[in-house]
Structure formats: structure tokens, C-alpha cells
């Protein structure tokens, strides 16, 4: 006769007396049921905090929709808020620049994250810390720093060279620069964590099976790190599309450089709350779609 889970785990001998079928059948579920039946301080606190966090998210999302609905606008007007030319232009610019930023981050953060994860070199701890600096900087500081960088020396030369080619930094290029600086750290950090979780031993095994370091990277390490890399990409894209502070400082709010966050602020500042809310809803929808795609692609392997 098999032991119940408590007896098996404690090593105690089965108790004397008749054992019912239901007791044996219930055994594997017993720990969960205990958690469900006996509320204690810890479970109440943790459960309560989870509910609070969910309410904050759900509350913010629904507040925008309810506020729009409470303004008693005809459906055609609400539709116009979402599909106005300026809103569409801002959305298009936001999507294109955030995708451009994502491409740039992927190209740079995958090798950088891999280097931080796998290589041991002098100054690695410093490099690891410096990578995180943009995360901790106030966003406006990034904008000011970009202004300063392109104001003298090498940066100024680059700016003048671009101007000679008819390319201004107050354009989609400047937007991508701001988004890149603001999101690069998130990309490197997520991708480094993904490579940390991929066993290094398997790369060595791959080398004994004929792989060059490049082949071991492409065929073993990168596929193993894929869930974390994709999650990092989504994070970078979501952060990039929401960048606001550095854009206000570095590229301003001209019509050609209005992305969704800057346009939302401009509309809000002139009292046009309807358009602001429409943009907020669009951004929430984009974020929700992005997260849904991640969950669909990765399931339980997703970091989100």
C-alpha cells in the first residue's frame, strides 16, 4: 500500500488502522488545499497587494475609456479623435521610430549582453554598472546630455557633417537617438540575463561537435536565450514608444517630430483632453497587443 504524501515526506511509517481510498487519492493536492483553506497573515498580505496592483492597472486603463464615454460625444466624433490626421501621423512616426530603435538595440544589445554574460575582462564590473546608467538617469538629463554631446567636439563635427548632407538631427534621426539611449540599457540587461540562463557548458559541447564560436552562438546560445531576447525586445519597443522627456529637450515639438507622447502633452497643454485620451488609449492598446503577442509566442517561457 502506498504512503500518503505527508508520510512519504516525513519518513514516518503509515498510521495504524483502515486507510480510505479518498485519503490516498487526495494526497497530492493536499498542500494546495491547505493554502486555500487556511488563510494566514502572509497569504492575506500578498494576495491583497496583488489585488491592489491589478486594480491600479485596470483602473488606469478603464479610466481613459470611461472619461471619453462620459463626454457624451457622438460616435463619429470619437472616431475622429482616434483617426485625425495629426494623430495618425504621430502614431505612424512613433511606430516607425520605435521599430527603428528596436532594430538598433537588437544589433548592439545582443552582442553587448553576450559579452557581459560570457566574457571575463578587466573593467567588467565597471562596464556592467555603466550599462545601467541610462535607467537611473532622469529622462530630461538624457536630452540635455545629447544636446551637450552634439554641441561641441566630435558630436558637433558629426552634426555639421550630417547638415552638409541635408540631414537634420531635429527629425526621425533625433527621435531614434533619444529612444535608443533611453532603451539600450533595458535591452542589454534583459539579453544578458537571458544568456546567463543559457548553460555555457552546451557551447563547449557544441565546439567539440565541430562548431566554431560563431556557430555555437547562432545554433545553441541564441536559440536557448530566445525567450529572454524576445521579452527584452518587447520591453525595449514599449519603452521606446513612450519616450518623452529627452524628445522635448533634444528635438522639440515641431509638427515633423511629434510622436504620440509629445503630441499628447501638447494637446493636453491647450486643453484638448479628448485627443490626449485618444492617444492614451492607442498607446494602451499597442502595449496590450505587444504583451499578448509575447505571451502567444512564448507561453510560460515569457519573462512577462
Amino acid at each position: 500500500m502506498s504512503e500518503t504524501w505527508q508520510e512519504a515526506s516525513s519518513g514516518a511509517r503509515p498510521a495504524a488502522g483502515p486507510r480510505t481510498e479518498s485519503r490516498v487519492a487526495r494526497a497530492p493536492e493536499a498542500p494546495l488545499r491547505i493554502v486555500g483553506r487556511r488563510l494566514n497573515g502572509l497569504s492575506v498580505l500578498c494576495g491583497g497587494m496583488l489585488v491592489f496592483c491589478l486594480l491600479v492597472v485596470v483602473g488606469l486603463v478603464t479610466a481613459d475609456l470611461f472619461y471619453l464615454a462620459s463626454r457624451d460625444l457622438p460616435p463619429a466624433d470619437i472616431w475622429r479623435l482616434f483617426t485625425g490626421r495629426a494623430v495618425m501621423r504621430a502614431m505612424k512616426l512613433s511606430l516607425l521610430t520605435s521599430l527603428g530603435t528596436l532594430a538598433l538595440v537588437v544589433v548592439t544589445a545582443i552582442p553587448a549582453g553576450y559579452a557581459l554574460s560570457r566574457f571575463r575582462f578587466p573593467g567588467r564590473a565597471l562596464a556592467n554598472a555603466l550599462v545601467d546608467v541610462p535607467i537611473f538617469l532622469p529622462p530630461v538629463v538624457v536630452g540635455v546630455s545629447l544636446l551637450a554631446f552634439f554641441g561641441f567636439g566630435l558630436g558637433s563635427s558629426v552634426k555639421q557633417a550630417l547638415a552638409g548632407l541635408g540631414i537634420s538631427l531635429v527629425s526621425w534621426i533625433g527621435i531614434i537617438m533619444c529612444q535608443y539611449v533611453m532603451t539600450m540599457s533595458y535591452g542589454i540587461r534583459s539579453i544578458k540575463a537571458a544568456f546567463d540562463a543559457a548553460p555555457r557548458d552546451l557551447e563547449q559541447v557544441a565546439c567539440t561537435l565541430g562548431c566554431s564560436p560563431w556557430q555555437a552562438f547562432w545554433r545553441v546560445s541564441l536559440p536557448l536565450a530566445r525567450p529572454g531576447v524576445i521579452a527584452g525586445c518587447i520591453l525595449v519597443w514599449a519603452r521606446g514608444i513612450g519616450v518623452f522627456g529627452p524628445l522635448m529637450v533634444f528635438v522639440g515639438t515641431g509638427p515633423r517630430v511629434q510622436v504620440m507622447p509629445t503630441m499628447m502633452w501638447l494637446e493636453l497643454s491647450v486643453g484638448n483632453i479628448g485627443v490626449s485620451l485618444a492617444i492614451a488609449v492607442i498607446m494602451l492598446a499597442l502595449a496590450g497587443t505587444g504583451l499578448t503577442v509575447v505571451h502567444f509566442l512564448l507561453g510560460d517561457r515569457s519573462l512577462f
Binding site: V205, T208, L209, C211, S212
Partner: protein, 236 residues
């Protein structure tokens, strides 16, 4: 000609040193390297495979000096302790991995490994994810993968240590049978006398970074003057 010659090899890993190791493994021979945990067996194997830095000494494979050669050019089949299977590939893709890396088309690679797959009885497992394999099955798949590109030497790092006793015995017999079938010189690391008795032609015993003695299990058990060898082989 010897399949493997290790000549005065010295290795360093932090403060630990494997010193002045010299050994030979003949063509078709099954050599078992024994020793207590932490004596440097696995480090020595990794150096032979090109995965650990060599401080001094030479390694020759069929007379060819491979001391400074990258692991990928050595043609040594390496099976680590847990099999080292790639979790993102199914069993067939794991086995054909070394062939597809070399540029072979998947269909041709599958044909090329049919003999190995049949010999190890893996036909039913080919489409399965490696996550759902038992310990014994994992080791068989790892062995098939190591044999796929016809290695000049097979190196097994404690291949059965994580298995239960009956599976361990079955897997050891299978290892020996396959080694004879493919006539490949083999170095097998373990710390079990019973395991060595099941598979070995010759045994080497290491202790604290040094190779103390080599010979058949019988010779070492009865004739070795080293206390550490006697302790390892004659416990009851």
C-alpha cells in the same frame, strides 16, 4: 599506433593543479580513468578535448599533435556528465547536429546516422523532445551524437553516475557493446570500481591531480603499491 598519447601534461584551474600526467590509450581500447571526486579527472578530459587551457605538455591523437588545436578540429566525441543535449532540438536534430554543422543536408544527415540510431535502439525516440527522455535515454542520445561524425576518440565524463543501479549496469554494457561495434578508442571517467569492471580494458587511477598507476583492474587491485589506489579499488 596509439589512439591517444598524453605526455607530461600540466593543467591549472585556479589554485588546483593537475601535474605531469602521461598516459596512452591504444586503438580500440576502453580506458577508464578513476579517482575520488575533485582529483582532476574531468579537467584532464576537458584538456584532451580542447576545452581547458594546457600549461605544459603535449596531447597526440593518432600521432598528430593536437595540443594547441581548437576543440572543433580535434574530432573527439565528448559526452559530459548530464549528456549535454541541446534542449531546443529534438532527438534526431541532436544526433545529426555535428553533421548539419559540417554542412550536410538534414535528409543526408539522417541517413548517415541510421546505423548508429539502430544500434542504440533510438528509432522510437527520434521525434521526441529531449526534455522527456529518461536518464538512460539521454546518455544513449548523447553517445549517438558523439559517434555521428566518426570520432577518433570517445571521451565519456561520468556518463552513468546519475543513473539508478540497474540502469547504470545496462548502460555500461551498452557502452561497451557500442564501443566494440564502432571500434573507437574510449576514455571513460568514473569513481566506481563496479562500473570500471563492467567496461574497462585498462584503468588509470588519479589522486590529487596526479596519475598514480595504470593497468588492468585486476593488476591494480592486487599489485599497486599506492594506498589511494588500494583504497579506491579494494573497499568493501
Amino acid at each position: 599506433m596509439n589512439a591517444l598519447e598524453v605526455i607530461d601534461l600540466t593543467l591549472r584551474a585556479g589554485s588546483f593543479t593537475v601535474q605531469d600526467i602521461s598516459l596512452t590509450v591504444a586503438e580500440g581500447e576502453y580506458f577508464v580513468l578513476m579517482g575520488m571526486t575533485g582529483c582532476g579527472k574531468s579537467l584532464l578530459l576537458k584538456a584532451v578535448c580542447g576545452l581547458a587551457q594546457i600549461a605544459r605538455g603535449r596531447v597526440r591523437l593518432r600521432g598528430r599533435d593536437i595540443t594547441g588545436l581548437e576543440a572543433r578540429f580535434r574530432n573527439i566525441g565528448y559526452v559530459p556528465q548530464d549528456g549535454g543535449l541541446f534542449p531546443h532540438l529534438d532527438v534526431l536534430r541532436n544526433i545529426t547536429f555535428p553533421l548539419t554543422v559540417a554542412g550536410m543536408k538534414p535528409v543526408a544527415a539522417r541517413s548517415a546516422v541510421e546505423g548508429i540510431v539502430a544500434s542504440l535502439g533510438l528509432e522510437e525516440l527520434l521525434v521526441r523532445s529531449v526534455a522527456y527522455l529518461s536518464g538512460g535515454e539521454r546518455q544513449k542520445v548523447a553517445l549517438a551524437r558523439a559517434l555521428a561524425r566518426k570520432p577518433e576518440l570517445l571521451v565519456l565524463d561520468e556518463p552513468v553516475c546519475a543513473l539508478d543501479e540497474p540502469t547504470r549496469r545496462d548502460t555500461c554494457r551498452e557502452l561497451r557493446r557500442v564501443q566494440e561495434e564502432f571500434a573507437v578508442a574510449t576514455v571513460h571517467v568514473c569513481h566506481s570500481r563496479d562500473e570500471a569492471a563492467l567496461v574497462s580494458d585498462r584503468v588509470g587511477v588519479m589522486c590529487e591531480g596526479r596519475l598514480l598507476d595504470t593497468g588492468t583492474l585486476q593488476e591494480l587491485a592486487t599489485g599497486s603499491n599506492h594506498e589511494a589506489v588500494q583504497r579506491l579499488l579494494n573497499w568493501n
